[in-house]
């Protein structure tokens, strides 16, 4: 068994298991922790697939920033109480599970039929990741995808401003809150 196969068969069950565990955790923080585990396994898969840059970005962005933000918000809002297990929507759970399984089955069948056991070029690191993954990726990114890159940077600025505007407590609301407190 090649190392990458070992990695796959070790981490794939962890990945699926952590995802399923996230699904069943009643506590939001625990769910977030399992999701972090899942993200780590994905990072490992990126490494296996010849994308060390994305491996690092995955950890920095998802594990390091996004999930911290999630934890931060959960703790800030104090919504870490146990979630009620009563489902008020009739048929929601069975339908959701059936549909989820159906989707997975469909993709399974499609991948089996169309991809088979294809593995891609054998010497990926030599032919594609020329001069290292980061360098090769930057060549693609700053040549072929330069305009999307710039647009995305604008999107980030917009998102930052949007977050600031949304998170800001307006003066009016503070006054209202004060009024409510007095009453």
């Amino acid at each position: 068994m090649a190392p990458d196969q070992i990695v796959f068969w070790v981490f794939a069950p962890v990945s699926v298991g952590s995802a399923v565990a996230m699904l069943f955790q009643r506590n939001a923080i625990h769910a977030a922790l399992f999701l972090i585990v899942n993200f780590f396994t994905l990072a490992v898969f990126y490494l296996v697939l010849g994308a060390p840059f994305l491996f690092a970005v995955q950890i920095i962005v998802y594990a390091g920033a996004i999930m911290v933000l999630f934890l931060f918000v959960i703790m800030l809002l104090g919504v870490d109480r146990e979630e009620s297990l009563v489902e008020r929507l009739r048929g929601q759970r069975p339908l959701a599970i059936v549909l989820g399984l159906g989707l997975a089955a469909e993709i399974f069948v499609t991948a089996r039929a169309s991809l088979g056991l294809a593995r891609g070029p054998a010497n990926f690191d030599e032919t594609v990741n020329v001069g290292g993954n980061a360098q090769a990726l930057s060549h693609v990114l700053f040549r072929d995808y330069f305009l999307p890159f710039e647009v995305t940077s604008i999107l980030l600025i917009v998102a930052a401003i949007a977050a600031m505007v949304l998170a800001q407590r307006r003066e009016r609301t503070t006054v209202e809150a004060a009024g409510e407190a007095e009453v």
């Binding site: 929507l89 929601q92 339908l95 959701a96 549909l99 989820g100 159906g102 989707l103 469909e106 993709i107 069948v109 499609t110 039929a113 169309s114």
Partner: protein, 626 residues
């Protein structure tokens, strides 16, 4: 000269615009401006005629391109003016008689509160009429056609305060519209079947080979239906007598001299179609003849001065169509021209009488007016003699030629009927003459002669009525006939028939007989015509109501139509249509009241629907791929 031919219609249009927007400020100058423009237009028309006369006979066709009007794909309509003998003749009639009537109107309409607007409408009418006759294609002709219809409506209803005038305007508009609709279909058919609306492309004898003759029959009949409506022929004639509610100059200009002759012009212009068809020509002949005699009998029963003249006009127009049906187009045009003179003269004289009597039109309240208004009486007499067909006045030549052609055509019965019509014409016009200007004075107020601004035009028209015959002394070799020949073709002499001299004598005798009978009954004093009328009350009523055609229409068409409309309005519209609309609304309300339950506001429901969609799309894609 031909470069400025566009000015002929443009000048009245400018006058119409000026008078419409500034008529009130211009005051009396409105009439002078309108009349002056018409005089200038007439002068220009004379110039065009002079130019045309200098050209060789077979080259007398000039098309003046003003620009493109409509250009959609292969459908192209140009704003072209056609100058040929026929259009020039019509143009001269319109501008000449029009100018005279405009001048007359200065006096007649004096003091009217809408003085400026009257001249605006009149000018606008002249513009549309000139567009009609100068058009080089069917669509432009149709524009003019509808335009004169609009002006006719506006002018008949000029005194819209009177309910009768308003309803008469409405009636004229609606009835002529029946014919117009057929005509529009005919024009569409021309484009569909013949591929063009341009006269030069369509109106040539070789067009015969393009389509079977049945198509031409249909086209000709549809166009003729328009002519029937516009020219007040049976069965669409009922609007014209009622149209006399308009001001008298309007009756003279529109409902005697110009607009009603548009039908004659149309048939003459498109005679190619009629000749190819043959059947259509017979229809024209029959309709014309029936109208001529029928309207003459009706004229006998009228007590209203202007209604007599209206029926007389219908009758005369019937003669014109009769002539057209006999392929004697030039003769029809000759009658058209002379009729324009003497019928305008008669109407204006009648207007003068009305002016003198304060608007009175009832013949029973007239009589012996020759003493109070001798000049008017003399002018009216000239017109009456002309229409009766007494030589050497213009009417004699025109009518005599038509009878001559009829006699030679082989339709002996038609000739006899037409002769009877001629007799009746002389009879009703002499009845009118004697009742109004001779016998006892039955007026209720003192009559007076009209001012010179009205009488001078009368004199001018009288000159035309008397000497108009010079234009076409002979049916084959007259000047007008020769002038029109390049457009309308030479008249083919029919074989047989009576000699020309004999025919002339017969028609003169018929006219004199009519006058004699008229004198005997109404002028001599030997017959008590009032008692006669009481005795034959039924006949009189029958004639007075125009054979009850109107009443038949009312009961057979209008009343069922109204009932149907009422049914549609109360039952169909309120129950079915409104019901459908309300039902649709209620259906959607019901559906929305059920369907809005879908909008639960629960994100997870929406998400579920989302996922269902994703799964189904995958199924679809999978099926497509496999």
């Amino acid at each position: 000269m031909l470069r400025s031919v566009w000015l002929v219609p443009a000048l009245p249009l400018a006058g119409a615009a000026i008078n419409l927007f500034a008529g009130k400020r211009l005051g009396r100058w409105a009439g002078i401006l309108a009349s002056g423009l018409m005089v200038v237009a007439f002068a220009l028309a004379l110039g065009v005629l002079a130019y045309l006369l200098r050209l060789p006979g077979n080259e007398r066709l000039v098309v003046r391109h003003l620009g493109d009007w409509i250009s959609v794909g292969s459908f192209r309509v140009a704003a072209d003016l056609r100058v040929d003998p026929l259009s020039v003749t019509m143009m001269l009639v319109v501008t000449g008689v029009g100018a005279v009537i405009h001048v007359y109107s200065i006096g007649y309409m004096d003091g009217d509160p809408r003085y400026g607007r009257f001249f605006s409408y009149m000018n606008l009418f002249c513009f549309f009429m000139l567009t009609l006759v100068l058009a080089q294609n069917f669509l432009l002709l149709y524009l003019g056609w509808e335009g004169v219809g609009l002006c006719s409506y506006l002018l008949i209803g000029f005194w819209f305060e009177r309910p009768l005038a308003a309803s008469a305007a409405k009636k004229a508009f609606v009835v002529t519209r029946i014919g117009d609709t057929f005509m529009l279909v005919g024009i569409a058919l021309v484009f569909l079947r013949l591929g063009s609306l341009d006269f030069s492309a369509v109106l040539r004898p070789s067009i015969e080979s393009v389509q079977p003759s049945g198509v031409f029959t249909v086209i000709a009949l549809l166009l003729f239906a328009g002519a029937v409506g516009k020219s007040a022929q049976v069965p669409l004639h009922t609007w014209l007598p009622d149209a006399m509610e308009g001001p008298t100059p309007v009756s003279a200009l529109i409902h005697a001299a110009t607009m009603v002759t548009a039908g004659v012009y149309l048939v003459a212009r498109t005679h190619v179609f009629f000749e190819i068809s043959g059947v259509a020509l017979t229809v024209v002949l029959v309709i014309g003849l029936v109208t001529a005699v029928y309207a003459a009998t009706c004229a006998l029963g009228q007590d209203d001065l202007k209604r007599v003249l209206a029926y007389s006009t219908i009758s005369q127009l019937g003669y014109m169509f009769f002539a057209l049906g006999l392929k004697a187009y030039a003769a029809a045009l000759f009658l058209l021209v002379t009729h324009a003179f003497y019928k305008a003269l008669l109407f204006l004289s009648a207007g003068s009488v009305m002016h003198g009597l304060g608007g009175e039109t009832d013949l029973k309240r007239m009589g012996a007016l020759r003493r109070a208004m001798p000049f008017t009486a003399a002018m009216f007499g000239v017109g009456a003699l002309a229409i009766a067909g007494v030589p050497p006045l213009s009417g004699y030549f025109a009518k005599d030629q038509i009878l001559e052609v009829a006699n030679r055509s082989g339709y002996l019965i038609a000739w006899l009927v037409a002769l009877a019509g001629a007799f009746l014409s002389a009879l009703y016009i002499s009845r009118l003459m004697f009742l109004a200007f001779f016998g006892q004075d039955r007026t209720e107020r003192a009559a007076h002669e009209s001012p010179p601004v009205m009488t001078v035009p009368l004199a001018l028209l009288a000159v035309g009525a008397v000497f108009g015959g010079v234009l076409g002394l002979s049916v084959t070799s007259g000047r007008l006939q020769g002038f029109l020949a390049p457009v309308l073709g030479e008249l083919t002499e029919g074989a047989g028939g009576l000699p020309t001299a004999v025919l002339s004598v017969i028609s003169v005798l018929a006219a004199l007989a009519g006058i004699a009978v008229g004198w005997l009954v109404y002028g001599s004093g030997k017959v008590d015509w009032v008692a006669l009328r009481v005795r034959f009350a039924g006949v009189h009523e029958f004639l007075a109501h125009g054979w009850y055609v109107d009443d038949v229409y009312s009961t057979s068409l209008v009343a069922p139509g109204k009932a149907g409309a009422a049914f549609l309005a109360s039952a169909v519209d309120q129950r079915v249509i409104d019901g459908c609309v309300n039902g649709v609304g209620q259906l959607f309300q019901w559906a929305a009241s059920r369907g809005r339950r879908l909008q639960t506001g629960l994100v997870r429901n929406y998400g579920l629907a989302f996922l269902v969609g994703v799964v189904l799309i995958f199924v679809y894609v999978g099926v497509r791929l496999s």
